[in-house]
């Protein structure tokens, strides 16, 4: 379980660095990097904070990950979560943070 940061999309705003509960993300040459990806908890705080959709969450192979990547786009109270599978197909699920969980 970890994240990957797409350097070409990163605008160096530092928001992901602020929120990481493990202080794992650093700014290097004005872009975010994660020097120790194996220390990631997978909490998704950073991907929710990134406005450039430059961070993706993935499941490590050792926990059965299949290469899918998860990103999020925020639009007011809406969070649009997209999973892009290894074969390139994508699925988006939108959650409104003003709606409570059904369960």
């Amino acid at each position: 379980m970890s994240i990957e940061i797409r350097q070409n999309l990163c605008i160096g705003c530092g928001r992901c660095i602020t929120v990481c509960p493990g202080s794992l993300i650093k700014l290097k040459n004005k872009t975010a990097t994660i020097p120790k990806p194996e220390r990631c908890w997978g909490c998704a705080s950073c991907i929710k904070e990134c406005t450039a959709e430059a961070i993706a969450l993935f499941l490590g192979e050792d926990m059965g990950g299949l290469g899918g990547k998860m990103t999020v786009r925020r639009e007011n109270s809406l969070l649009h979560w997209t999973v892009t599978k290894a074969n390139g197909t994508a699925q988006t699920i939108t959650v409104n943070s003003l709606d409570s969980n059904k369960y």
Binding site: P21, S23, S45, L59, G60, D62, G64, G67, K85, I93
Partner: protein, 539 residues
């Protein structure tokens, strides 16, 4: 690397700006104009247990029920190994903190009568994705609260069993802090990472409890001679295999039954309390009837979609798993397993011994939330209530002046830390792995189905002690690496305390938590009149 020394004085110091810590700061400001300083090793916006979001408020008193009902429930669930006085004072505050959270901006589902919609009588349904930013924003609005983010507290300053302040280091810059205060609250959460995790490789931090809660508060207390209670009551969570995501939403939300590899529903055999659900699964695996699963096949498409969303709000990895595999819960049962053991007073009774004011056995030091013991089933709302109780008690306790230590150890500490920073890099990963393997094999980890013997505990203790010595030789090339060394040493110390508590138990009561002692055998348990519940249990 040389360290700069900085001194800070404050009125009320809070160590750890998580759930309980943030709420304690807010409560303090409602009742006092004095100054509060929160010292947080990450950033309060998304630090601690609430980072990913939570699914529900698990502790609430539903219509027609009373706080005493909650006490009775928690007492039953933990087979009496609880402190009734702590549970009651916690339960009495649950509903008012839930309302406060709603006023701060948390979405809570209401029924047609405008009452909170409950799941059972103790849970209320929320959208908990943004619960931590909501708390952090409220803290930021208070002018009497200062926050030091990315500063890690590692030692108490104590004089004659009274706390005067703490030592801390920046996680980013070479700065060593001495912070003095009139009262101190420890809200550093519980401890993960003592035992070999479910995924020992690349995904080793994919665990349920935050790997960044390393037991710092517990270790500092142990070093300073604070009394700890019930550390043997480890929390083993029942989780979705691989993603370690919660299972309650499946079991209670869509009524999924626990089945073994033969397709038999086994939960009826063992019971459905939290601990029985874990125990049943462990027992089935041990009897080679695993792997076990929650039977979700056959749920409707609509239920599946709601589950995708519910997990996005608290454990997005599970939704990622369902979608990337193309096999959602309607077409494939969800495999479940027990986790590595964690130490967390929010679920079990392990942590600091505290009185009903949440004051520890060190004067002026309060503890709340997952770091405080005696009071299981606190969860989010219980942590908030404890923060509230501790903040109010701290106001009454505070003297008018800050006390100063007789001798300042700061120079000695500075030299020691600079020693770690001056040697060539020798990271702590190998020792951490060794510690987790020892705990796993000899102190009741997953590989032994959480079992251990008196002999194996002795071996564990000797080996952990040895690792402690080796850790003195580690070195760090940055402040963050230095903090990793501190965290390892905290865990090693806590391991020894857990081993000692496990060894002291003379009876196994709670099978699920694989724990527990009834009265003392030949160990030194301090008997306090206040909490004696003779014949039942003594803390």
């Amino acid at each position: 690397m040389g360290l700069d020394i900085r001194h800070i004085d404050t009125d009320f110091l809070i160590i750890g700006g998580g759930t309980a810590g943030c709420y304690a700061a807010l409560t303090f400001c409602e009742h006092s104009d004095a100054h509060v300083l929160i010292v947080e090793k990450a950033n309060i916006r998304r630090s601690g247990c609430l980072a990913a979001g939570v699914n529900a408020l698990n502790a609430y008193i539903g219509p027609g029920k009373t706080p005493q009902d909650y006490v009775d429930y928690a007492r039953r669930d933990a087979e009496n190994i609880v402190r009734g006085d702590l549970l009651l004072t916690m339960a009495e505050g649950l509903n008012s903190v839930a309302e406060k959270l709603e006023n701060l901006g948390l979405t809570i589902l209401k029924d047609n009568n405008g009452q909170y919609a409950t799941r059972g009588w103790r849970n209320i349904k929320i959208n908990g994705e943004n619960i931590k930013p909501i708390l952090a924003d409220a803290v930021k609005k208070q002018e009497h609260i200062s926050v030091l983010n990315r500063v890690n507290v590692f030692e108490y300053i104590i004089k004659e069993n009274q706390i005067l302040g703490v030592y801390a280091v920046s996680v980013e810059e070479p700065i060593l802090y001495t912070i003095l205060a009139k009262a101190v609250l420890c809200t550093t959460g519980g401890a993960a990472g003592l035992y070999k995790p479910n995924h020992p490789g690349f995904s080793r931090h994919k665990m349920w409890y935050p790997p960044f809660n390393t037991g710092a508060g517990l270790a500092m207390g142990i070093r300073a001679g604070a009394e700890m209670t019930t550390l043997e009551m480890r929390f083993v969570a029942l989780r979705c295999k691989d993603t370690i995501a919660p299972t309650g939403t499946l079991a209670q939300g869509v009524g999924a039954k626990q089945i073994n590899a033969l397709g038999e529903v086994y939960e009826d055999k063992y019971g459905i309390t939290t601990s029985q659900r874990v125990y049943g699964t462990v027992a089935e695996n041990r009897e080679k009837r695993g792997p076990c699963a929650l039977r979700t096949v056959g749920i409707t498409k609509e239920q599946e979609d709601d589950l995708f969303k519910a997990y996005l709000n608290m454990a997005p990895s599970q939704t990622l798993r369902w979608i990337e595999s193309g096999k959602g819960p309607s077409v494939q049962n969800v495999e479940i397993e027990g986790t590595a053991p964690y130490i967390t007073g929010g679920h079990t009774a392990s942590g600091y011994w505290v009185n009903t004011n949440r004051e520890t056995t060190i004067r002026g030091l309060f503890a709340a939330g997952d770091v405080a013991g005696g009071c299981p089933q606190k969860y989010v709302t219980g942590a908030l209530v404890e923060g509230e109780i501790a903040a109010k008690a701290a106001i009454s306790y505070m003297s008018s002046e800050i006390s100063h230590p007789n001798e300042d150890k700061i120079e000695v500490i500075k030299q020691k830390l600079e020693g770690y920073l001056s040697r060539t890099e020798n990271s702590c990963d190998a020792l951490e792995e060794a510690m987790q393997t020892i705990m796993d094999e000899h102190a009741g980890g997953m590989s032994t189905y959480y079992n251990f013997t008196e002999e194996s505990l002795k071996i564990a203790d000797e080996k952990i002690l040895e690792l402690g010595k080796q850790s003195e030789q580690l070195s760090a090339s940055s402040m963050q690496e230095l903090v990793y060394i501190m965290e390892l040493q905290e865990r090693l110390l806590l391991c020894r305390s857990v081993i000692a508590h496990l060894a002291a138990q003379k009876e196994t009561r709670l099978q699920g938590y694989i724990n527990s002692k009834l009265k003392d055998g030949n160990i030194n348990i301090i008997r306090r009149q206040l909490v004696r519940e003779v014949e039942i249990y003594e803390h």
